[in-house]
Point group: D2
């Protein structure tokens, strides 16, 4: 089993999310980090490479030299797939250039700053036949995948109601502290784009809803809260969803839900039953049944779907966590890059990125218009 | 300690909620059921009275004869306080006549069919100086009361976000079953009024928010779901709330959240911390703190507020339930009737009933107008 | 429905457990407190009676005058059933005299100080055909009753293992505090008998095991901990149980498990599945299945056993607590007193009291002998 | 950062635990798998090596050729540390030969078949100055480490009581099924040694108690259950522990607790508070306090001990699992091998292996003697 030659843009020393990508990739045992543009500070980038045992001639100061350098290498040595973990506003340029030069891409969310950019990436991805994986990490959890498969199989009947929330409190001390709003780049529109809370976490809740239900949200209506008059971006918001005349939903998201850590949850109700799942306790899937006891489904069992069983191989009672969930996306992307057969849902693609950008833009627009319904 | 002579309108044999009122009253040891209009079927009413050991001359066929009969008795024998547990559309007439004739009233929610009626009852209650207790049962739980007191004392700082949900699934089999929508009076507008889900349970979530935060909702925006085209009333809905420019909230309610039982929860977040409480696990109050571990507060401890300690007298670890919560409202009403000193929040009054009716009407109006903001 | 004329020995003002008995009795609506020996201080007893609305001629200074006074009344006015809530060492004398004079008895546990006394009470109860209910309160919880019925029906196959614990921390501050061990009568052998922890709470765990499994413990082996050299009674202990060559169990109990409230739990495993139940969260019964998801069973459903349904009449999601559990024992005792048909397990009887005393004595003996096996 | 050249004995294709070791090692990014004796079937071993990208000249048919082959390599290429994941009865020979030839060892538990063997390994480890890490995986969880540090710091005062259980159900279908007891090598004494349940999982509970409390168990008393007459090994058992006159404990373990997965829990109580931790929900540590609310401690916070913070680097609310816990042991072993400073408890060593073997032998002896106390 030859490992995929792999590169990173961003993610050097001190970058929390870059480290998580590397652990995820190592768990799969299918990626070999060969080079990249690890840091805006080239000296720091080289130091990082030394620590990782990466030859310094594969460390590049910017994306253009990365592409030039790698293309100059023989095809069998060349990096094939690149993970983009730079600030949001750089994703588009990096992803575009990489795909145009035949690299596959794994990209953090939100995938771009505008939906037009995301649509552009989608076009390139199709034209160049490049794999584009967007790291909606939570879709890699085995119990999320089991939920998706059971809903597809009609286990809870026709869907009637869905709701998800993503509550964090980490911006609370920042917004109230002396550092003010600029203490974090997430609140700088030049770096983050038009939204903080919705772009950073609301979009995960949105993706989780469309991923697990297999349904498309048709309209959204939102109200956003910036908490202080001088803060330009939303820190909190609630979004109503319409799927059809008789099915609605709601997304709640906050970065100022003080004391909350990374509280992503989803409830889905159909004519026969329902599901409840929590990211902070990811190995329990609660399944509700009309007129009967509810059950708690856990990973590692024979009776689970193939998809869930492949996503957690340890026996029952051995908890896996977010790195393994993340690893499941990397594994799916590797399979697609190698043209191995994959199943639907193995990893979120650029089409999910486009939907996510439309969601973010529409919610911001709805809020600006005093909470009107916006077609998605 | 003389018990209060007590009557009931409705609530005879087979009435689930009537039985709950009687258990609540007996727990307090402060009420003696002396008579009432227990059933529309007078023979059944008398049979109920025999079972309860109530003299048959205190069983009346209707509200007017009840009032006439009781007023004819010497004041010291006469029923002083009456619980109304009839279908919603009858509450107004019964409450009005009782208060005009000097009876105190304990009434089920929703208190009336229109807010105008509720305002009328409020006027009578003030003019006649009658106690009017509306049974928002969940305000009687000791941990709800502790949460209220701590918020008042600033324990979680300035409030930033609030959300509550009330999810049930009991109408799911009815709406999908052969019996159709008329299998339950809750879906008959003549009996229930303009709303099913919001009037029956959404209003509890609304009341719980205003009760615990001490804040008034200023505007609401709602979307309702009737599930089938021939069903006239909402079975499900989501409501956005505005308290101020920088504080919002959301209420979610459903009677078709299949498999849910009586799932009422509330989350409140402030600048210093937050609270989370669940009705189905009422003896645990989760308190979140900025930058620290969260704690689980339980009843029975010395360190709790007076209000919580008086609401649960057993030592820690002895779970109390909904009857005891209900009993706490009856206890509060008894204290008010006897002119004993009470503390704010001891029982919800007609002013809560007026707020609740305004909430229901506004949400229905908002939904009709395509989800507009309605001032409350 | 005529209420049972009811008396109490002990349980006056300030007695926590006496108050709980009265709430339990009122919940059933089948008892009318008519008199008793409420307090060793006769003046306080009369004051309590005044508060409760009990005529002073039914307040007695001691058990003998109680019996004499009541027997002098016409049979239809006379108290029929008496609850004994005095300190442990008085139970025997009171219960004996009451039954010999034809009163039915409801008695706190441990039922006596020695097993010989308990056997004597059993003989009297049979000879005089008196109902004797011992308040192992936890057997009244609906989910405990459902567990018992399912085990009887073979739902988890042949039993393989059982374990229960009862952990409290309330003696921790007493044993470490300045007040010393005598700050509580529970640590005075003259009042409590030969054991504190095992007699007070270990015996509940033992009873719960025999009640739910329907099996008899054959041998016990125990080790007890008194924590300090000058404390005469056990505060903590662990007990191994043998049911047969191939089925064992264990009971753990402590009054110095600092921070624990009233943590009684039971796990039962058979060849097909298992059960887990916790007193502090009494409305959830976890049922484990070989090779399948586990389920959470809750009260209020049609699919439950008759026994569980009669023990919780509210719809699902309306939590009941310890008063209602207690009330279920009082209801069962009332049915037996009225010669109404009852089902096995409706209330623990004197035979459970005898078993409990044998358990306590055997564990203490085993510990004294350096942890030997003692036949029960 | 040069990776440690690493080998494995056992753990080839299809070996669940071998795969877990490799994920753990990869997570740390400090080990490079260079060779080993992956399989008793040499062809399968080579196929495994091909899949892993390991040169075939580093694949050996047995331990002796492994040692000979590696020693023939230049020191800087040579494997330095070897993980032993063979059946129990082979651990001793493999570990002994490896250390005598200067390899560091990471070994599965139980470390040997007899305590004499373990003591022998301890002597060699000291004499040869070799790192010996025994994979009591659960000691790698961040919340276990936080608990250990807080107990060391006196956070719950002087210890009074400790209890742990490890409940699984996986042997239940085997022992009841047609395959009989030989369906699993765990029930073959030639392969497993004198115990199944205690050697496989009871010893984890024992290690967790000594690891977290820092105390040594002085005496044990056990009762074991083999369930069927023809089964030679224990499947279930309960063990009483004595630490001192006034501190006792208990270990419960079962492989026939039907429906249980990998349910390892620990409760520790001291004079000031207590701890509760569950392996299946590893990111929550419950801390009990005398007379105050209990708190739930989670990973990722600044306020945690250095040890816990280094063991979980993601922000709060990002759950880690058993691979990461395992990885923490591998990380600790790597630090020790590289002579980097480590802190006590970074990984369990051969001294823990000796204690564990003494525990297993003593419990089996106690059971044979009819449950006598055995000094440890």
């Amino acid at each position: 089993m030859k490992k995929l030659p792999w590169g990173m843009i961003g993610g050097g020393t001190g970058a929390f999310i870059g480290g998580a990508h590397r652990v995820a990739a190592r768990i799969t045992n299918q990626y070999q980090l060969m080079g990249g543009v690890f840091d805006v500070d080239f000296e720091r980038a080289k130091e990082f490479a030394r620590d990782e045992g990466i030859p310094l001639n594969r460390v590049y100061p910017n994306i253009d030299e990365f592409i030039e350098g790698e293309l100059a290498l023989p095809a069998e040595e060349r990096i094939q797939v690149v993970s983009i973990v730079t600030p949001n506003f750089l994703h588009y340029e990096h992803a575009r250039k990489l795909m145009e030069n035949d690299f596959h891409v794994i990209c953090e969310k939100p995938v771009t700053i505008t939906s037009a950019e995301a649509i552009d990436l989608q076009e390139i991805s199709l034209r160049k036949e490049r794999v584009f994986c967007i790291t909606h990490t939570y879709t890699g959890y085995p119990m999320v995948r089991e939920m998706k498969r059971r809903i597809e199989a009609g286990a809870i009947g026709e869907l009637q109601r869905v709701e998800a929330h993503y509550l964090q409190g980490w911006i609370n001390p920042i917004i109230h502290g002396g550092g003010g709003k600029m203490a974090t780049w997430r609140l700088d529109p030049k770096v983050s784009g038009i939204s903080s809370c919705m772009a950073d976490i609301g979009v995960h809740a949105f993706n989780l809803i469309e991923y697990t239900t297999g349904l498309e949200v048709k309209q959204v209506l939102g109200v956003l809260n910036k908490l202080t008059p001088d803060n330009p971006l939303d820190l909190d918001g609630n979004v109503l969803l319409k799927f059809s005349e008789n099915m609605t939903g709601v997304i709640r998201a906050s970065q100022i839900a003080t004391g909350e850590e990374n509280n992503l949850q989803i409830n889905i109700y159909g004519s026969l039953g329902g599901f409840h799942w929590e990211q902070e306790n990811p190995n329990e899937l609660k399944m509700l049944h009309e007129g009967a006891s509810y059950e708690i489904i856990k990973p590692g069992y024979e009776f689970l779907s193939d998809f869930a069983r492949e996503s957690h191989v340890l026996p029952p009672g051995h908890p896996e966590g977010i790195y393994e969930s993340f690893g499941n996306l990397y594994k799916g992307a590797a399979m697609a890059i190698k043209n191995e057969p994959t199943v639907p849902g193995q990893f979120p693609g650029i089409e999910d990125g486009v939907r996510g950008m439309r969601f973010i833009e529409s919610v911001v627009q709805s809020d600006k218009e005093g909470s009107s319904w916006i077609a998605l």
